[in-house]
Point group: C2
Chain length 485, copies 2
């Protein structure tokens, strides 16, 4: 009925234009959605913080300049595996009876199942209690303190529990001089502390890591005068099908090669060396500890650039996702954690799944993981989807990133460099939330891994961070950075 | 002028239709070219050998059935690294003063530069002569015999020279029971015997392989009760960016992991173990020996199926490319070798390049190498081209292949299986010659590798093979397989 009479441009909410379409009007649909949470206030703040005019009302170019400084620090980082701390307390002397955990701050009462399971396991491992029930009572009592790994220069996978006796890999960012720490990957099967299991077998495994694996690998890394430079390994692994978050097959092989050659002619007991090599041989994810610590040492160096809206941490405690932003100090900006969408081991489904958990999204924060997933087409066999999805994530994530990291190239995308430096503003402007690939934990303590999938960081983290950036802009000193000196 | 008057279908030679096109005729261009060498005789024979009618005049379905048998043997092969022969003569006792070489048969007088250089090196290594000049005189004299590796169950990379004292990897195809052999990859730099270099350093390297590397790796493989199964390694390497011809980075790492774990707790001297691990560590192509021997043991098992037109060997001596066909006995079908197109090391160009050389195209023959190149996008940094070319080769090669090998999947093509079983008829019908990726040797002896690139097997090999298939069909016994029993 509208033929040749009406031309309609349809913007935003789909469906409203159906009448026009069915009536035969010439219809052009624009792919547009309102910024962020669709409130006028957020749209206004976003515009104010994004414009490129240099005046009091417009803070955009100040943030842009700060962001370039932040990503320069990311791109320039040189993470090196320099040491193994035999016990966390050796490098984090103030721990006392504190357990570090993944994600933003959380107490026992709000903790999810797998994190509670890991807390019980860690208390048993430390000998602070002699049974799971007593461990739980102790955790509940307030006598044991909890703090985020991230606030102590550390990162932990899944529940991310680090207790004072656990050994840690030590990575130094040679450019900035800062250190980062991560626990070793536990060996063997679906039951591990990080997924919330605390059986005797799990505790024995942790003890073996403390008493055998850590000293052996310490001998290897201390034997190398300059340590082991991690960036070249990550770059090579990206050319060998890894994303160094949920696929570390190549990186773990490169690590094993290095360890084997370092220890082959050395003075350590041959049986011990053989068993440690066997451990790495059997765990294609062994490198994740080093990958996470490398990313943490990189992103900590990019933290604290005044006015920068670059995300320097994205971490999940199994209830909430929290981000930290370079220019916004130690504050966490949080939102509810989603359930990952993906593949499940036989017998499990989404109904069993715990919401997104773990500090390993530090890899995505540093431009690896799902941001570099175009490098890892075979990983979709683990997390679900198709190889084209992997390409799509890497392409989409450029839209919310400040730059590309020339050190990390993606062969399947014609060797384009991986996007890096999530900009809070771009996430809101684009409506494209950061993609994270992840293992999935059972929601009950003691059950372990049940699958893997894809998840996105919640919008609320970025919305609240934007208002904080706006507040900071309002409070900017009289010598407003936007007024040229 | 032809508008609405003339519709033209243009078939074959481009350009002849230009008059029609410029005159405005409705023009449909069909992408067609005559089969093979474009002679009517070949087209007739191809039609006779390709049709699916079961009668005396049409032999196609007989060949189809034979080809399915041949590729079943390829797909069912289980190559296992079972042993190391400390000297080639231990497993090939009839060698005497024979040197094996790459490709179809060739004598000294027609050999290319790098093969002559390798012959000189091998004669010096054997101690049959004491100087390069004397070695050359001996080679020219006819006292030293030459024979293709392929005719002795062996394959050699580049010049492919195997002399009686050289150690060989021994691979057994557990399904068919046959054995295949390949020399070890030499270490260190561009100068190696396989590229035609014969300096003292090259000879010392060969001696070290004979006296240290071979016994050490023999201890490793003999220590494993079932040897090392190669198919799972190749399948995994394809998911890690290898094509296992010119990229063996992942496969060599997996091999090193296995060797390191096998030898870690064993009784061999630690300094020796350390040096052998160092050798593998420094050579991302170390696995090529095992890849080639695995493919040779696979394709030899597919050889000798009566009436099959499946190619079971594709090999180059630096002057000619030769193929062997399952149903055509020991005969070679040859054509002139092309110069590879690709990348050159600084200071070199196509003018310095030797034509295509080496037995390593056994990997393409077995459905790996360029046929599986979609697995190895990063390899274009070595051979030239773009990652999309790698995808294209794997897709194109399906057109000339009988089947896909379910054991070898290609993530970047949505995990489709790699094409396998080159059919002589399809090559001619399609005009698509088999793609081979290859290193490029300097055309003069003693100079070594100068680059890498892409090359195709010459059409002449397939044309002459087709006529031989036609002859065989003509000579088929009275109980013609095409006449149903």
């Amino acid at each position: 009925m509208f033929n040749d009479v009406l031309s309609v441009i349809s913007v935003g909410v789909a469906g409203l234009d159906e009448g026009a379409a069915s009536g035969g009007a010439a219809l052009t649909r624009l792919d547009w959605q309102p910024a962020g949470d669709a409130t006028p206030e957020l749209a206004w703040q976003l515009a104010r913080l994004s414009g490129d005019r240099d005046d009091k009302e417009c803070f955009g170019s100040v943030i842009d300049r700060a962001n370039l400084e932040a990503v320069d620090r990311v791109i320039g980082a040189e993470p090196v595996w320099t040491d193994v701390a035999l016990h966390a307390r050796d490098v984090l002397p103030d721990l006392g009876r504190t357990l570090l955990h993944a994600g933003p701050p959380i107490g026992w009462e709000r903790m999810c199942g797998p994190m509670r399971g890991a807390v019980i396991g860690a208390i048993l491992y430390e000998g602070w209690a002699s049974s799971p029930d007593r461990a739980e009572a102790l955790a509940r009592s307030g006598e044991v303190k909890f703090a985020p790994c991230h606030e102590h220069g550390a990162v932990g996978p899944m529940s991310g529990i680090i207790s004072p006796s656990m050994p840690l890999v030590v990575v130094r960012n040679r450019t900035a001089g800062n250190f980062a720490y991560a626990p070793f990957m536990e060996s063997g099967g679906p039951e591990t502390l990080r997924f919330g299991a605390y059986s005797q077998k799990v505790l024995d495994g942790l003890r073996w890591i403390e008493q055998t694996v850590a000293p052996t690998l310490r001998a290897a890394v201390r034997g190398a005068p300059d340590g082991l430079s991690l960036k070249p390994i990550i770059a090579q692994a990206l050319h060998m099908g890894d994303d160094v978050h949920n696929r570390n097959t190549a990186a773990s092989l490169i690590l094993l090669r290095w360890v084997a050659c370092e220890l082959a002619a050395g003075g350590l007991g041959r049986e011990t060396v053989a068993r440690v090599l066997e451990l790495i041989r059997n765990d294609d994810m062994f490198f994740l500890s080093l990958s996470m610590a490398a990313c943490k040492s990189t992103m900590d160096a990019a933290h604290g650039v005044p006015n920068s809206s670059v995300v320097t941490a994205m971490a999940r405690n199994g209830v909430e996702v929290g981000i930290r932003v370079s220019g916004l100090g130690e504050r966490w900006f949080t939102g509810p954690a989603d359930i990952p969408k993906g593949l499940y081991l036989p017998g499990f489904s989404e109904a069993d799944a715990n919401p997104d958990i773990g500090d390993s999204a530090i890899t995505e924060t540093a431009g690896l993981g799902a941001f570099a997933m175009a490098a890892a087409p075979a990983m979709v066999q683990f997390v679900g989807g198709k190889p084209s999805d992997a390409l799509r994530y890497s392409t989409e994530m450029k839209q919310i990133s400040v730059a590309r990291n020339p050190g990390f190239t993606l062969p399947a995308l014609d060797f384009v460099a991986a996007p890096v430096g999530i900009d809070v503003r771009r996430v809101l402007d684009d409506g494209s939330r950061p993609v994270i690939n992840t293992a999935t934990a059972h929601r009950e303590p003691g059950r372990g891994i049940i699958g893997a999938g894809i998840v996105r960081a919640p919008l609320a983290c970025f919305t609240t961070a934007l208002y904080a950036l706006a507040d900071a802009a309002d409070k900017a000193p009289a010598s407003h950075p936007g007024e040229r000196a």
